[in-house]
């Protein structure tokens, strides 16, 4: 067992840290990318980082990465977390890229991977649908083969992103199978293909999500990623990359550092906040929670590096702990600020630039890559081996409910 890092790894950390320290004017992580200027700024930074290979340090050099191991990728994640960097093309880097690595054809890799690792393009994942949230396999969007083209029709919702996308990573139904998840296929769809339209969904905390409509959108065979009807398995395999995110804990720690500094320098009733026992206790609790989260994330990252499938022991405890913290921490922080906690950024009286208020809002939307319930279902069923309600029983329950309604 070993909880430290090698000298090489520390060198890499310093190199990355210094790069972002030079490039970033200040901590802008709390500022939503609303304006054209801000979007341009992040895109520029993404390209600069891409040129150095920092965007995808784990990818082979031929695809624009640095060919580093999983621990090194974890370190890069931590540094990005510290600086509050959320790449405009996070999906391309963390979902599409790994997916193409695993299941893409040589041609697709050549075409897409260098674009992604250089930070030129933006990808969105179009998986979630009105009727397919946690029940990911219940996709209604259809792709039908007509001649040498696939025609996609349907609607995708809660697709996060405020930047203009270049490519969409679409999951669609290609066969009516039982069980449902054996008939799904992945497609790369150019965002400006005729028939693709979009509506914005503003979210709490200033995020933007979107609804994408696909109306007779035509793509060729070369758009298919992996095997036909195997899309669900491909998605599940690539989602695992999202689960080893060491950046969340690094970000949380930086924000705690910021709050601690605030408590050192702010007096209430003539006494620094940090001397208040209740404040101390809240800060200590958050510090412990963050350390638990950090270790869970590193454990997952390490298991990945060892080329072991994520086993029962640490299946998405990162997501589990970060969701627990997502509820408790913003509340504790707002309590420390008192009534000032409710002031958003830019307000004359806002403390810490309103970051805590925004954090509180944003954490309400923290359901990506599966809700807490989805995580718990997996933990209960796959990890602890607890029984599941059989599908048959579901049908019986639904029928009983309908009967009751009829009688009423």
């Amino acid at each position: 067992m070993e909880f430290g890092f090698t000298e090489e790894q520390e060198k890499l950390r310093k190199e990355l840290h210094d790069f972002y320290a030079t490039e970033l004017p200040e901590d802008v992580s709390g500022v939503p990318a609303l304006s054209r200027e801000l979007q341009d700024f992040w895109m520029d930074l993404q390209r600069k980082a891409g040129k150095k290979g920092y965007l995808a340090p784990g990818w082979p050099k031929e695809w624009g990465g640095l060919g580093l191991g999983h621990i090194e990728v974890g370190i890069a994640n931590e540094v990005e977390g510290y600086w509050g960097i959320a790449w405009p093309d996070g999906i391309g880097l963390h979902i599409v890229g790994p997916g193409l690595h695993l299941f893409g054809t040589e041609e697709q890799k050549k075409r897409f991977l260098p674009e992604i690792s250089s930070g030129e393009k933006i990808w969105y994942e179009c998986f979630t649908e009105p009727e397919a949230g946690t029940d990911e396999a219940n996709q209604q969007t259809r792709a039908v083969k007509k001649g040498d083209k696939w025609v996609i029709n349907g609607q995708k919702i809660y697709i996060t992103g405020g930047y203009k996308p270049d490519w969409l990573y679409v999951e669609a139904r290609t066969a009516d199978t039982i069980p449902k998840h054996r008939g799904l296929t992945l497609f790369c769809v150019k965002a400006d293909t005729p028939g693709v339209t979009v509506t914005a969904l503003p979210c709490m905390g200033g995020y933007r999500a979107n609804i994408f409509y696909f109306d007779n959108v035509e793509v060729g065979d070369d758009a298919i990623v992996g095997q036909i009807n195997q899309g669900f398995y491909h998605v599940m395999a690539t989602f695992e990359f999202e689960r080893s995110n060491t950046g969340i804990a690094a970000r949380a720690k930086r924000e705690l550092q910021e709050l601690i500094d605030f408590c050192r320098n702010t007096k209430r009733n003539g006494k620094p906040l940090i001397k208040d026992p209740m404040v101390r206790r809240a800060l200590a609790k958050m510090a412990i929670d963050i350390e638990v989260l950090r270790l869970a994330a590193w454990r997952t990252a390490w298991r990945f590096g060892e080329r072991k499938r994520l086993g029962p022991l640490d299946f998405d405890l990162t997501g589990f702990f970060s969701r627990l913290n997502a509820y408790t921490h913003p509340n504790l922080k707002m309590d420390i600020l008192g009534a000032y906690g409710q002031l958003p950024m830019g307000s004359k009286y806002a403390k810490l630039d309103g970051a805590i208020e925004r954090g509180w809002q944003v954490t309400r939307s923290y359901h990506y890559a599966g809700t807490m319930e989805a995580i718990k279902i997996v933990l209960a069923g796959r990890v602890l081996g607890l029984p599941r309600i059989p599908a048959k029983l579901h049908t019986t329950i639904m029928q009983a409910l309908q009967e009751k309604e009829k009688q009423a």
């Binding site: 067992m1 070993e2 909880f3 430290g4 004017p25 200040e26 901590d27 802008v28 709390g30 609303l34 304006s35 200027e37 801000l38 700024f41 621990i71 974890g74 510290y82 203009k164 979009v198 509506t199 914005a200 503003p202 933007r208 705690l256 550092q257 910021e258 601690i260 500094d261 050192r264 101390r280 206790r281 800060l283 200590a284 609790k285 510090a287 412990i288 350390e291 270790l295 454990r299 990252a301 390490w302 298991r303 060892e306 405890l317 589990f320 627990l324 958003p344 950024m345 830019g346 630039d353 970051a355 809002q361 718990k376 933990l379 209960a380 990890v383 602890l384 081996g385 607890l386 029984p387």
Partner: protein, 424 residues
């Protein structure tokens, strides 16, 4: 970063589990509860033969020179089986203090005996008055004086919550020999023969229901000056380090116990049938099991990290404090979750092993510092954290953001997006 146990650690874990399953079933734990010693001597001897008592001591004292991390893995198994033994008192709290601060004579006299299972020791630190104040485990809590008389010292006062006092051959007593500028200055440790004239013991009946904790009264107990462990007035530093190690190992023990409780709950949820189905099919029951599982896994990582840092000699006051503070919460939480799932079969003290875990879990939570104590230690460390580099600047300062977005009103912004003809 590597979370893998080494081959030796895996073997140690496996061997310990097998040994304890065979030699330390529930009946042994129950029997030990009623005995004055608090542990079965033949089992203690067997543990010595397995090398558990000298595990972390250097080879020249009969030990095997293994690391604190190795011992933490063993402690997990001991917690799982509720192994009744004075291991923590003898080997860790007293033994490690002697190993660090004792004279060569003391070390070569005592440590091999401990290793062979011939010597049991108890740490007499906490006292009646300050303990209710929550200062029991701080140097401020040490007030019992040791006054010089010729070539000896005379100890006079009461020590409370002395674990394994009735079993001990020697007590390691923390005394106040001078009032220093800081509370930690002026504490001296004495090696006291447990049968010395003037010492009397009264068992404290506690939640655990055993006889392992005592009130120890020192009525003018004479101790030769050569029995001082460490420096005169300078006993706190080595003792504190031993307490830190003890706190991490105790946390490991709590994780082991919590995991056992969690497994009992999961097992019960799978097999108990009500309304013609296993109760584990219900999400509410699953929730308890999941929370216990997360408690165990999350705390275990902390334990391993702190134990690794202790083994490597990396400063880790923060990690130690985090570990015990979280273990305190997680262990009692997991026991509680198990009680919810096991319900009737969980609280009947004769039939179920769970009450044995729950009651000990509570005692361990209060031992070597309750949650408040360690939370405050965490706070003392994190308040030294530096401010982050390049903090937030003036609100939105460097970026040219439209006037109406300077104070973002998310609803205003939402309307803007909706009203825009083009979205990008």
């Amino acid at each position: 970063m590597n979370f893998e146990l080494s081959e030796e650690q895996k073997m140690l874990k496996k061997a310990a589990r097998e040994f304890l399953e065979n030699e330390c079933p529930e009946s042994v734990v129950r029997k030990a509860e009623d005995s004055d010693l608090g542990y079965p001597p033949e089992l203690w001897k067997k543990a010595a033969d397995l090398g558990w008592l000298g595990l972390i001591y250097p080879e020249k004292y009969g030990g095997s020179g293994m690391s604190i991390l190795d011992l933490a893995i063993l402690y997990e198994e001991m917690g799982r089986a509720l192994f009744p033994s004075p291991h923590l008192s003898t080997v860790v709290l007293c033994g490690l203090t002697i190993l660090e601060a004792g004279t060569e004579e003391q070390k070569s006299e005592l440590l091999p005996k401990i290793t062979r299972g011939e010597l049991v020791m108890a740490l007499a630190l906490t006292e009646p008055e300050p303990t209710w104040d929550g200062k029991g485990w701080l140097p401020e809590g040490v007030t019992v004086p040791a006054t010089p008389e010729g070539n000896s010292y005379v100890i006079n006062g009461i020590k409370l919550f002395v674990h394994d006092a009735l079993a001990a051959n020697y007590l390691l007593v923390a005394t106040r020999t001078r009032k220093g500028r800081r509370a930690s200055d002026g504490i001296t440790l004495f090696l006291v023969d447990a049968k010395s004239p003037g010492i009397s013991y009264t068992v404290l009946r506690t939640t655990a229901g055993d006889k392992r904790q005592c009130e120890v009264v020192f009525d003018r107990v004479k101790v030769p000056a050569k029995n001082i462990v460490g420096k005169l007035h300078g006993g706190w530093a080595p003792l504190e380090r031993a307490i830190n190690v003890g706190a991490v190992l105790l946390s490991a023990q709590m994780v082991g116990s919590a995991e056992k409780a969690m497994e009992m709950a999961v097992n019960h949820a799978k097999t108990r049938i009500q309304f013609d189905m296993p109760i584990g099919i219900h999400n509410w029951v699953q929730e308890y099991c999941i929370m216990a599982f997360a408690d165990v896994q999350g705390t275990r990582n902390l334990v391993y990290e702190a134990a690794w840092m202790l083994s490597e000699g990396i400063p880790c006051d923060l990690e130690v404090a985090m570990t015990k503070a979280r273990a305190n919460e997680a262990c009692t939480d997991a026991h509680w979750q198990a009680h919810q799932v096991l319900a009737g079969v969980g609280f009947t003290t004769q039939d179920s092993v769970l009450p044995l875990h729950t009651k000990r879990g509570k005692v361990w939570q209060l031992y070597l510092g309750e949650t408040d104590h360690w939370m405050e230690k965490v706070a003392q460390q994190i308040e030294k954290w530096p401010a982050p580099e390049k903090p937030r600047g003036k609100p939105l300062g460097i970026f040219n953001v439209p006037e109406d977005l300077q104070v973002p009103n998310w609803d205003v912004w939402a309307n803007q997006i909706k009203n825009k003809g083009k979205l990008w």
